[in-house]
């Protein structure tokens, strides 16, 4: 089987401040530290066999990639262009914070060939931004989107967080209206999740923060999808919306389709064939390994068919495109229409999914229950481990 082009990911762990909801591998660090980090990242690139995969996306995530200087991003891009093979239409994504967006930086990033600039807006109201511990204000957020649009990126993407404590449907609708008024072609709308070992989880334990009741979360979830779809911002995943298919995140789709990806930098994950591996989460052991000339891999897993199918269901039910039954059949030899026909009929009759073009396509109700639905499958082939 000729493999689909892979994705290349860089994890830039630095943030000028750790957001209270964030459980990613992040850290603060001064300029010198950041510079050293880039050097280590450049060294990590050289540790890889550049010929194993052919890439068509490069994604800078974090953390905050805009905590690096544009020329440092340029050095990384130069290094990978030398080391790895790429498709002609490779697309480059960079996540940035609004406070780092200036006329100069957007010009520089655009000059590096970045196609999608992803802005960590998170909220478009002062209370929301304060609650989320962000460093920018609403005007800066709006201004950053305008600057990005003017710089001529193919796609300007924004991130929003909803389901904040006390947020009502009309609050959120007003927020979406403000977002829709911006010249952005892609929205990521993430429902607030309280992760362990974050400031929010501490506040929750202390009783100083109360999450929205799950039924209200559900209401907001469905509202988000209906409202944005109606406004022409078409959903394609649980949290992803785009003005047109061309604006969808080609890179992120790879995570959901078992397309190979290679991750560099601390905590970055990689996947190829049946193997998934990940780098040291903490920066020190990551750089230690690189300095010793070793791949900074902390762990790996070999995925058996059962695990691969479960992942395909888990990620597939999160997407509008649904679960690709023929793909599962041809790649791993499991025919869910045989193993789980009764369940499929039941979920269909419950209005949670439909079967079309050899795909199990979740309805909006089904999408909202993706985590409950996916583990229901595979009882038949689950018996033998």
């Amino acid at each position: 089987m000729s493999e689909e082009p892979a994705g290349l990911y860089f994890h830039i762990p630095f943030c000028s401040r750790i957001c209270p909801y964030c459980d990613f591998a992040v850290r603060t660090g001064d300029r010198a530290r950041r510079r050293r980090f880039v050097d280590h990242l450049l060294a990590e690139i050289e540790l890889h066999d550049g010929q194993a995969l052919r890439f068509d996306t490069i994604y800078f995530g974090g953390g905050t990639p805009s905590s690096l200087l544009p020329e440092e991003i340029g050095q990384i891009l130069d290094a990978v262009r030398r080391r790895f093979r790429f498709e002609d239409d490779v697309r480059i994504f960079v996540e940035v914070n609004p406070e780092d967006v200036t006329a100069e930086t957007v010009t520089a990033w655009r000059g590096l060939g970045v196609h999608t600039l992803s802005l960590g807006i998170q909220a478009l109201n002062a209370d929301g931004l304060k609650f989320l511990g962000r460093l920018h204000d609403v005007d800066q957020a709006r201004h950053s989107v305008d600057l990005a649009r003017d710089a001529g990126f193919d796609t300007v993407a924004i991130d929003l967080i909803y389901g904040l404590p006390g947020q009502t449907a009309s609050d959120w609708r007003a927020e979406l209206d403000r977002a829709l008024a911006l010249p952005a072609q892609h929205f990521s709308c993430y429902q607030l999740t309280i992760h362990p070992r974050t400031r929010f989880s501490l506040l929750e334990k202390r009783g100083e923060l109360t999450q929205l009741p799950v039924d209200e979360q559900g209401e907001l979830f469905r509202l988000t999808h209906r409202y944005l779809n109606d406004a022409g911002m078409q959903g394609y995943e649980v949290s992803q919306f785009a003005r047109a298919p061309a604006h969808r995140s080609r890179h992120n789709l790879k995570y959901w389709n078992h397309t190979p990806y290679l991750g560099l930098g601390p905590a970055a994950h990689s996947f190829h064939e049946r193997r998934r591996w990940w780098n040291y989460r903490r920066t020190n052991p990551w750089q230690e390994a690189i300095l010793q000339g070793k791949l900074p891999v902390e762990g790996e897993e070999r995925l058996d068919t059962r695990a691969l199918v479960l992942e395909a269901l888990m990620t597939g039910f999160r997407t509008y495109a649904g679960v690709d039954l023929s793909g599962i059949r041809s790649r791993w030899g499991v025919d869910l229409q045989v193993t789980d026909s009764a369940l499929i009929n039941r979920l269909h009759s419950e209005g949670l999914l439909s079967l079309a073009d050899d795909r199990l396509v979740p309805t909006l109700e089904g999408l909202a229950l993706a985590d409950s639905i996916s583990p229901m499958f595979g009882a038949a082939f689950d018996v033998t481990p």
């Binding site: 999740t193 979830f221 970055a268 994950h269 897993e301 695990a307 419950e350 985590d371």
Partner: protein, 599 residues
């Protein structure tokens, strides 16, 4: 015989019985300091944890008294719960004296009184001991006053001790020797020994614990168990230390063990009289009472592939639990299992706990039931303890249910509350009389079915722990019985069906529906839970549909973590019972049986 003392310790729960026993054992050097662990006699984990003694344990101590003689002190442990009252009685019958333990900070409590009367019923010499004198809250004078006022004993006889600190133990040992009577019996008569306990040893078979009343038991002789008529050749006799100590004989008045190659405890009946086959006694000792199952419940393995394990576990369990009975049963909802008979609810709980801990089994239990007597229109009479076998109501002429005579000992201030509790539980002929100033014995004739559900817990709650409860079976009385079924999304769950008095049907059904609604996780559809009698709905609750269960982010680093979470969920689901398309966790089957303080 003069150098033997047979005694037990009776106490309110927590007054330090096990600690005192430990201290006596230590003082007599029966156990190596290094091997010493707390509450030696409570050999089961469950006992140690809950601070109750379920299985009697007996130990022989050797004590050199101040008179220069060495005495054989037999400490016979007694269980502390009403379910096991027959075991208490048998233990007391083997003693001449009892140490009545009183907590210096708590004073005389209900169970102390109850135990005292029980001990007096068996003519035991009482040795009051005030324990925990080391506590700051100890009030020895008040305890003494209460000994006089509430128990009618001479407070000057009381021995002061702290089992924890080890103070007063020498005085206590001297008092046991000097003040408790030596056993009496006819050494020349044909042997008679009361079998008061039987335990299973995987290497030697059943270990009979007995008290020799007349004559002696010797190895090599053939014994006969008078009630069952069975005969066995004695392999070994001896004293019960922490390890068994073989002796040439067990003489008159002594307490010890007999090994006779008996395969399971089912082959003997505790309470029986052991005599010699060649020279049998003419009359058995009094006190034999068959341990009868009064509570029945079906046990199913949570995972159907654990059935074989359950069979093995039950076979092993009955080797040393003669009171447990079981036969095959099966449920549409839960598959193959066993219908088990228990002495009471605590016994049921203990069996369940042992199956879980000792055999690693996760179980589902059906609602406990008493055994009803059902008369059919055609005159046939049948016993029904399993709702599945309840005859078609149109063929039933009448039903009877077992009644007990319950006896509650309480301080007088609780009379009102306890009478109300008895009334709630359909008690009749509820009366009380004063045992002493402010001490009341309240008796009531109650349907056993209504005592099964949390009566004891409720009694403890409303009397703030002062109420003690004992009961004896009375008779069968006419009742208005109905079968309540529980339906989950229209599907009956046979393991949740139960037989109840018509007046209790609706509250019971509602209790079940509410507990199930609390414990069944939300599904992606609404779940209706209904209680019905013969198709008509008498109670209903719902579990609202879950309409959102999806995490916000799922990228490279999230996928493995998330898949593992889902795999865990899947494994968890396997531990659930699926009825229709509803997954019911084991906790739901447990929750329905839990105390409902509102009812």
């Amino acid at each position: 015989m003069d150098e033997i003392r047979n005694f037990c310790i009776i106490a309110h729960i927590d007054h330090g019985k096990s600690t005192l026993a430990d201290r006596l054992i230590q003082h007599c050097g029966a156990v190596d300091e290094r091997k010493f662990r707390d509450q030696i006699l409570d050999s089961m984990d469950i006992e140690r944890e809950r601070g109750i003694t379920i299985k009697s344990n007996t130990i022989t101590l050797s004590y050199k008294a101040s008179d220069g003689k060495t005495y054989q002190l037999n400490l016979i442990d007694t269980p502390g719960h009403v379910d096991f009252s027959h075991e208490v009685r048998r233990s007391l019958m083997s003693c001449e004296g009892a140490i009545l333990l009183i907590d210096a900070s708590q004073g005389v409590e209900a169970q102390t009184v109850a135990n005292l009367y029980l001990a007096m019923e068996f003519d035991l010499e009482i040795l009051p001991v005030i324990n925990k004198i080391d506590l700051i809250s100890a009030d020895i004078e008040r305890a003494k006053e209460e000994i006089e006022a509430d128990l009618g004993l001479d407070p000057e006889d009381a021995i002061l001790c702290s089992a924890k600190e080890g103070t007063g133990i020498d005085e206590l040992l001297e008092a046991i020797v000097q003040r408790l009577p030596a056993p009496e019996g006819d050494a020349e008569a044909p042997p008679r020994a009361l079998l008061f306990d039987a335990a299973y040893d995987p290497y030697r078979g059943v270990v009979l614990a007995c008290r020799v009343k007349d004559g002696a038991l010797r190895a090599g002789r053939t014994i006969r168990l008078m009630n069952t008529g069975k005969e066995h050749e004695v392999e070994e006799v001896g004293l019960l230390g922490l390890q068994r100590k073989p002796m040439p004989e067990l003489g008159t008045g002594s307490v010890g063990y007999v090994l006779a190659g008996i395969k399971t405890v089912r082959d003997v009946e505790v309470g029986d009289t052991i005599t010699e086959a060649e020279r049998p006694a003419t009359e058995a000792l009094p006190g034999y009472k068959e341990a009868k199952s009064v509570v029945f419940s079906s046990i199913y393995p949570m995972a159907t592939d654990e059935y074989v394990e359950l069979v093995k576990a039950l076979d092993k369990l009955v080797l040393n639990d003669a009171a447990l009975t079981f036969e095959k049963d099966s449920s549409v909802a839960l598959g193959h299992g066993f219908r088990c008979g228990f002495l009471g609810l605590l016994h049921l709980e203990v069996v369940q706990e042992r199956l879980r801990r000792e055999y690693g089994l996760s179980l589902v239990l059906s609602a406990p039931s008493v055994r009803y007597r059902v008369t059919l229109e055609n005159g046939e009479v049948c016993s029904v303890d399993n709702p599945s076998f309840y005859p078609d109501p149109s063929t039933i002429a009448g039903c009877e249910e077992p009644f007990i005579k319950g006896s509650v000992l309480i301080p007088e201030r609780y009379i009102g509350a306890v009478m109300e509790l008895c009334r709630e539980r359909r008690g009749v002929e509820t009366n009380f009389n004063y045992l002493a100033a402010k001490r009341v014995e309240l008796t009531s004739e109650l349907p056993l079915a209504d005592v099964l559900f949390d009566f004891y817990d409720r009694l403890k709650t409303i009397t703030q722990g002062y109420g003690s409860f004992d009961y004896e079976m009375l008779d069968y009385r006419e009742t208005d019985l109905v079968k309540v079924d529980i339906l989950i999304n229209g599907e009956p769950v046979d393991a949740l069906s139960q037989l109840v008095h018509r007046a209790k049907a609706r509250p019971r059904a509602l209790h079940y529906c509410e507990r199930l609604a609390e414990t069944i996780p939300r599904h992606q559809f609404k779940i209706a839970i209904q209680g019905t009698i013969g198709g008509s709905i008498i109670a209903r609750t719902n579990v609202q549909a879950l309409r959102k269960d999806v995490t916000a982010k799922c990228y490279g680093g999230d996928i493995t973590r998330k898949r593992k979470l889902l795999e865990k969920q899947k494994a968890g689901k396997k531990r659930m019972k699926t009825i229709g398309s509803v997954d019911i966790p084991q906790s739901a089957f447990v929750a329905v049986l839990k105390t409902d303080t509102d009812s």
